[in-house]
């Protein structure tokens, strides 16, 4: 009898532990850079609460994962460098060099090197993240910003905000091979998962340009219309495409909406109301949730990608800018 109860208790305990670890396995850590606060808010994707705040250098903006998810790498623009933090311990691992005013980093598909746009010197800098050194600089247009990497690692696409172009850079030769004129103030470049298209948002132009990767032809321009919102307030910035290549999410800045676009037809399916001046977007690794950074309302909105509902708003630091989620 006693033995039986002990066995039961053990079984129960094991069950609880199992349940606990199972729920833990589903939770991700979501890192949000807060541009004006010099912090990164860390959110647990299960509880949707801020579990930690990392102190960073000045003006943290573009934020990505590196070293197989062990690092979170953030541009600290006003310090003219990148910082690397441990995604588990949140400790500062090291600094990485960049050019002046780094804004958006992206890694090669192989995990190294890192390419970063430097907004103040018309260059994309190529950085070896393990050897902590600059490999080379690539001259591009005025105010480089968006960085897109093709799934095969062959193409890096950089956008320049005042030159209004998407520059196609060959990652082998590190040369600009082609330039495609897009609408005013391009911000973000995102490849479709099959690598055939790159989607470029134009903040002032109010459009997303779809460019064919191989021919560099403009295939389409996606326009947005929201009842009760003037055209001027529709300012596309962040673009994220689901890994099945079906849905694209486009953050529309001061329109306070995220557009859901059917990738195949390029039709806008609906608009989701989020916080104010929504700029960047980040999926959880399972793509069940999409986080949006809402700059002027100091929060992130959480979108359930299956139901296309905004399920929660989480208060973070001042002027949240970029977002990336890491597996736990």
């Amino acid at each position: 009898m006693k033995r039986q109860s002990t066995g039961l208790a053990l079984a129960l305990l094991a069950g609880v532990m199992l349940a606990f670890s199972a729920s833990n396995a589903l939770a991700y850590r979501v890192f949000v850079s807060n541009e004006k606060e010099n912090t990164i808010s860390v959110i647990d994707s299960e509880t949707l609460e801020v579990i930690h705040t990392i102190k960073t250098g000045n003006r943290p903006r573009g934020i990505i994962l590196g070293n197989e998810g062990k690092w979170v790498i953030v541009c600290v623009s006003d310090d003219n460098k990148l910082q690397v933090f441990d995604t588990q311990t949140y400790e500062l691992v090291k600094d990485l060099p960049s050019g002046p005013d780094p804004e958006l980093p992206i890694l090669h598909t192989s995990g190294n090197p890192l390419y970063v746009s430097n907004e103040d010197d018309n260059l994309v800098t190529v950085v070896d993240i393990f050897e902590n050194r600059i490999i080379t600089d690539i001259p591009v247009g005025v105010e480089p910003e968006g960085m897109g990497m093709s799934p095969d690692g062959k193409w890096l696409v950089n956008t320049s905000e005042t030159t209004n172009m998407a520059h196609f850079i060959d990652t082998e030769s590190l040369k600009v091979i082609d330039n495609v004129l897009v609408d005013s103030r391009p911000r973000v470049a995102e490849f479709t998962p099959d690598g055939k298209e790159v989607w470029v948002s134009a903040e002032i132009g109010g459009t997303v340009t779809v460019i064919a990767t191989e021919s560099r032809e403009v295939l389409a321009k996606i326009n947005f219309e929201i009842q009760g919102i003037t055209k001027d307030a529709i300012q596309p910035v962040g673009v994220r495409i689901t890994s099945d290549g079906k849905k694209a999410f486009v953050a529309l800045g001061p329109a306070n909406r995220v557009a859901v676009v059917d990738v195949a037809t390029r039709e806008v399916e609906r608009y989701l109301l989020v916080g104010q001046r929504v700029w960047n977007l980040g999926f959880t690794p399972d793509e069940k949730l999409l986080f949006t950074t809402n700059g002027t309302s100091n929060d992130v909105s959480v979108i359930d990608t299956a139901s296309l509902k905004v399920t929660k708003s989480i208060r973070v630091g001042r002027y949240p800018w970029g977002v990336v989620a890491a597996p736990n």
Binding site: G141, E161, T162, M165, H167, I177, S184
Partner: protein, 452 residues
């Protein structure tokens, strides 16, 4: 006459290809050579109809180091787009009260120069080269004659910092040519209304735009009762009229109006404050209660005497204290940091409103050229008049020209001399087509018929 072809330090502007590596970080702005060289290095695919040169990429490093061969390489298929800065030297204009506000000798011109640089950075991908020339004259008729001559020589885009009457003469002298004048300085309403000209675009805001921008913020603050102080100059009265119109439009009240008569005398004297701190409060005595003192002093000859010297403690706004402006040297919004940095590196000073207005004028031409892939004046002018045109200009939204009078629609900063306080239009001031049209004379009220 001066030729500008890159950020050569003044007064060496006639040197065609002076390079300052620390400024350029690896890019040659020696325009002719670099435009060709880089166009060859970085061919571009424009959305429609752009040239498709062979895609032979030059090594990136070569671009940083190869200036001399680039300078020699002259290409005939580079499109050349020539702009002219026309400056009327206004010697009779009194200097402003504050030493901080004395205009630099290249006021406006440096903005046009940055515009040409920015156009050329884009132009090098498109085989387009922008060239800026300058004419300056204190004599209005001579200036108009010189500009006309330059237009005939192939400078169809005229960026003008001139008095209103000169601007009209200029517009009329060019009316049968494929040319356009950008007014970057004159705020006069009549230039956009009864005296509007179809070949003039205004990147300078009108007085009603400035007054409406300020009034919207005062309405938002609920500072509804104004004491208006107007200077004796005709421009002061004109700005006061714009302020009165704004007050009526937005439900504000001018409880008292006073004319500040004065003899400017010598701006500089060893002393002055002893008397002024007595004179201003006594001038402001016996006024009905008011929320704010609104000063109209466009020449900046007395307005700066008012803050902290009023009879009762009230903020001063208008042309002194909190003021409306197209640009402010402290603005870092919407990517403005990089823009300010580029200007600072080029001009070795801070950007002023006329610089910004000249930059938007030059960039308008650049935008039209890159979208049409043309250097033909008529094509570019038509494009700027079409509804396809828009300009990104560090104001958080696209800038466009009003189809009925050529006025650039733009948000207006409301600022102290140190920093911006807000940007108008204010939240809640709605409009059927564009909130920017809540600033200034709108289409239904315009007296301009030239564009119809």
């Amino acid at each position: 006459m001066m030729i500008y072809a890159g950020p050569a330090p003044r007064p060496a502007r006639s040197v065609l290809c002076r390079l300052n590596p620390s400024l350029l970080k690896g890019f040659s702005f020696c325009v002719a050579g670099a435009a060709f060289f880089l166009a060859a290095a970085f061919p571009v695919r424009a959305g429609e109809g752009a040239a498709q040169p062979p895609a032979e990429a030059a090594p990136a490093e070569t671009a940083t180091e190869t200036q001399a061969p680039a300078a020699e390489a002259k290409s005939d298929d580079t499109l050349k787009i020539r702009l002219l800065m026309a400056r009327e030297i206004q010697e009779d204009r009194l200097p402003p009260l504050s030493l901080l506000d004395i205009p630099p000798p290249d006021d406006g011109l440096a903005g046009a120069q940055l515009g040409v640089e920015d156009n050329n950075t884009t132009g090098r991908f498109l085989k387009q080269e922008f060239i800026l020339d300058t004419v300056e004259n204190a004599n209005s008729d001579e200036l108009v004659a010189e500009v006309s001559k330059k237009v005939d020589e192939g400078f169809p885009f005229v960026v003008a910092d001139a008095r209103p009457e000169t601007l009209l003469k200029l517009a009329d002298a060019l009316k049968d040519k494929d040319a356009v004048v950008f007014n970057v300085a004159a705020p006069d309403e009549d230039l956009r209304e009864e005296n509007c000209r179809v070949n003039v675009k205004h990147t300078a805001p009108s007085r009603t735009m400035l007054a409406d921008a300020l009034a919207q913020y005062l309405a938002w603050k609920q500072w509804r009762n104004w004491l208006l102080v107007v200077g004796p100059a005709p421009e002061d009265k004109a700005f006061a009229d714009a302020l009165k119109r704004a007050a009526t439009r937005f439900g504000l009240k001018i409880v008292n109006e006073r004319v500040f008569e004065y003899e400017p005398g010598s701006r500089r004297a060893d002393g002055g404050f002893e008397q002024i701190q007595q004179q201003i409060p006594s001038f402001m005595q016996d006024a009905p209660d008011h929320d704010v003192v609104v000063v109209a002093d466009e020449g900046e000859l007395f307005g700066e005497y008012f803050p902290y010297r009023t009879w009762i403690s009230r903020p001063v706004v208008g042309t002194a204290g909190l003021y409306p402006t197209t640009w402010h040297p402290a603005v870092e919004l919407w990517g403005g940091t990089q823009f300010q940095n580029r200007f600072q590196r080029l001009a070795k000073r801070q950007m002023r409103p006329i610089d910004y207005n000249a930059w938007t004028a030059v960039r308008s031409v650049g935008e039209a050229a890159s979208r049409t892939n043309s250097s033909d004046a008529k094509t570019l002018i038509d494009y700027m008049r079409s509804d396809k045109f828009d300009l990104a200009a560090f104001k958080g939204q696209k800038l466009t020209y009003r189809a009925w009078n050529g006025q650039l629609r733009q948000p207006i900063f409301i600022a102290t001399p140190k920093i911006h306080v807000t940007v108008s239009p204010q939240p809640g001031f709605l409009h059927e087509f564009s909130e920017l049209d809540t600033l200034g004379v709108d289409r239904p009220e315009t007296k301009c018929t030239a564009f119809q």
